[in-house]
């Protein structure tokens, strides 16, 4: 059980890393446009949280949501096609990178306006509570998003009415170029929850197991009827805020320090029994090198060849996704009007 879990988390993290790095390349090739917010460095959050969720739970996310969608089970093909703006994308090419939606998987959207995820999540949770279902809503948001009024308004309502929401703060310390100490009077996000009588916990977001366990127990408390919970998961984005931001405002040592804590590396450490070869180090990506060096391993969950194979699989999946996206047709104007009007059904308007 533990082994399978870990392996499948490692799989998702490697896929996540490969997917995002490829998206960056496709952006520079002009196949993806607009704002593209990438996730490298933060993989352990989406993977740890979503592995602990049930298929019947709902997910509400931000504009940095490709990996949330992927881990939730939206096929890489479909996510990539959306980034390319194609008809086979999960939002049919209308939403793009910031607006992934997948009704079937209860992936309730990527939202572009900071602070929108809380009320949407609260509304879904209200419905669940009303119908007395065993489901929960997972609501993602950034550290910069806690200063939007909707955070406070929604936490209050969720607590007041005992709603099944798990608020998950992806604290990467930055609101674009503004560091957390310059945007928040209280920098421990979890401490804010007590103002609304919401149990909250701080979690190391570089450690996927810690994230998984914290999420599991929080969701369990929610299902037992304890009401909303909050997790502050400390993480770091290795890249700039979006593809148009070089991220040069961050001290190099800070970036390096977090890269040394690379969540992908940490999972590898847990699973590789032997000191990796040069080739293996290269195969798992640049930023893991510093961390991997000097480490030998304890529990032999996976052979080094296994990791390499997995990495290759991930690359293959991503290659396929790009091919799929390229071959998917462009939506036409009739598709756009359909997206706008299709819910009218037979309603008589005038």
């Amino acid at each position: 059980m533990k082994r399978d879990n870990l392996i499948s988390m490692l799989h998702d993290m490697l896929l996540a890393r490969a997917f995002e790095e490829r998206a960056a390349i496709e952006y520079t090739r002009g196949n993806i446009a607009g704002f593209l917010h990438l996730y490298p460095g933060e993989e352990a959050v989406a993977v740890g949280v979503l592995h602990a969720a049930e298929p019947s739970d709902y997910i509400v996310s931000t504009y940095r949501e490709h990996i949330h969608a992927l881990v939730r089970g939206v096929p890489a093909n479909i996510v990539m096609a959306e980034l390319f703006g194609r008809r086979d994308g999960c939002s049919k090419g209308m939403g793009g990178s910031m607006h992934l939606f997948d009704r079937e998987r209860r992936f309730m959207g990527g939202y572009g306006i900071v602070g929108e995820t809380y009320p949407v999540a609260t509304g879904i949770a209200y419905t669940i509570a009303m119908q007395e279902l065993p489901e929960a809503v997972i609501c993602f948001f950034g550290d910069g998003a806690v200063n939007q009024g909707t955070f406070h308004e929604s936490l209050n309502m969720a607590s007041l009415w005992n709603l099944p929401v798990l608020f998950v703060c992806e604290n990467n310390r930055y609101q674009i170029g503004t560091e957390i100490h310059r945007h928040s009077a209280v920098t421990n996000v979890y401490k804010r929850a007590c103002g609304y009588r919401i149990p909250a916990e701080y979690v190391n977001g570089m450690d996927v197991l810690a994230v998984y366990q914290a999420t599991q127990s929080a969701l369990q408390r929610i299902r037992e009827g304890t009401g909303p919970q909050l997790l502050e998961i400390e993480t770091y984005r290795f890249r700039g805020h979006s593809m148009s931001d070089p991220g040069s405002y961050r001290p190099k040592v800070e970036v390096q320090a977090f890269k040394d804590e690379d969540p992908v590396t940490i999972v590898l450490e847990e699973s590789i029994p032997n000191y990796p070869t040069e080739e293996q180090i290269h195969a798992v990506g640049e930023d893991n090198i510093a961390h991997l060096t000097g480490h030998l391993h304890r529990e032999g969950y996976i052979q080094p060849e296994g990791v390499i194979l997995m990495k290759k699989e991930a690359d293959k999946t991503v290659n396929h996704a790009v091919e799929y996206a390229q071959q998917s047709p462009e939506p036409g104007m009739e598709d756009a009007w359909k997206a706008l009007n299709c819910n009218r059904g037979k309603e008589v308007l005038i």
Binding site: G34, G96, Y111, I113, Q175, M333, A336
Partner: protein, 330 residues
């Protein structure tokens, strides 16, 4: 002497001279300071004026725009930057209920020397939530003034005039114009802030427009001229108040009116412009006054659909021909 300059640089220069001239001018917004502004408009000002006068804010649009209102009531001249107009939806209470109404509700006791700058419009595949205009919403709020500069010279003049004014003013900038170049003569005496300008004279059709569409319309007018159609291009420069006289003067000459706007056509700015000018010039017009506007559709992410959702040079040319022809057939 006019040197060519980018539009964002013109705004930056305007902020700099006004801050140097008046200590009560201060800037606040997301990433305006240390980062230098998302579109570089506030670049270098943080180092020069310090954090009290160039304040990086949390993501709290309703709160910090309202803060600007409060500061303006006690004599400051805040310049609030809302990163993009899309986020101004969270600050509409401060803008419409507070800034626009406090001077009036207080019986005129409180001036409101507040400037709110925000870029907007359709840029490049930013999708529905990040591709809005919303000028109609602001136009419908009495008490607000709205400037829409399309050239570096106007950006320079109008931002300075806005900062010096005692009334609340929204400066709508266009995301795709920040890196457009044009002459700036800093010594030139400014024209009144809300006066419209005839960018190109013509005898056949009055084409009223503003912001980025003014740039496209000028290109269309040049091409139409090769076909023998002479378009008079009016850049409104302002959406509240609107300089009607410049428009009616032109219509008396051309007897045809077309309004081009990027905004969705339904209940957009063009609806107001066409309605008022039709009322005023009914007997002057040889054909129905027309609008050429964006589709009534949230902006699609897909690039081809995005382009098809707003006027382009070629659709503007079609609309111009159509406006003139519909007069001939009727």
């Amino acid at each position: 002497m006019a040197a060519d300059i980018l539009l964002w640089e013109a705004l930056n220069k305007a902020l700099n001279v006004e801050m140097a001239a008046d200590d009560s001018v201060f800037i606040l917004g997301e990433d305006v300071g240390l980062y230098g502004g998302s579109y570089r408009v506030t670049q270098d000002l943080y180092a020069k004026y310090g954090e009290w006068r160039v304040r990086d804010t949390p993501i709290s649009e309703g709160g910090f725009t309202g803060l600007g209102v409060g500061a303006a009531m006690v004599g400051m001249r805040p310049v609030v930057e809302i990163m993009t107009i899309n986020f101004a939806l969270l600050a509409l209470d401060a803008i419409i209920n507070m800034a626009a109404k406090i001077p009036f509700m207080s019986g005129g006791q409180f001036p409101m020397p507040l400037v709110i700058r925000m870029p907007g419009g359709v840029a490049k595949q930013l999708a529905a939530q990040h591709s809005q205009r919303l000028e109609h919403t602001l136009m419908n709020a009495p008490g607000l003034r709205i400037a829409v500069p399309s050239t570096p010279q106007d950006a320079w003049w109008q931002l300075r005039q806005a900062i010096r004014s005692n009334e609340p003013i929204v400066l709508l900038e266009h995301e795709l114009l920040y890196f457009s170049k044009g002459p700036l003569d800093a010594a030139l005496e400014p024209i009144p802030m809300h006066r419209a300008v005839v960018r190109r004279p013509g005898r056949d059709l009055t084409l009223v427009t503003y912001s980025r569409m003014a740039v496209l319309v000028l290109q269309a007018a040049k091409r139409l001229s090769a076909e023998g159609i002479e378009v008079e291009v009016i850049d409104l420069r302002s959406l509240s108040p609107i300089d009607w006289d410049t428009c009616t003067g032109s219509i008396q000459k051309t007897h045809h009116l077309l309004v081009v706007e990027e905004d969705c056509g339904f209940a957009g700015a063009g609806a107001e412009i066409v309605a008022t000018l039709s009322e005023r010039c009914f007997y002057e017009l040889d054909a129905p006054a027309r609008r050429h506007a964006g589709l009534n559709l949230p902006t699609p992410y897909n690039g081809a659909l995005e382009s098809a959702s707003i006027p382009t040079v070629s659709t503007i040319m079609d609309a111009a021909r159509h406006t003139i022809l519909s007069g001939e057939t009727s």
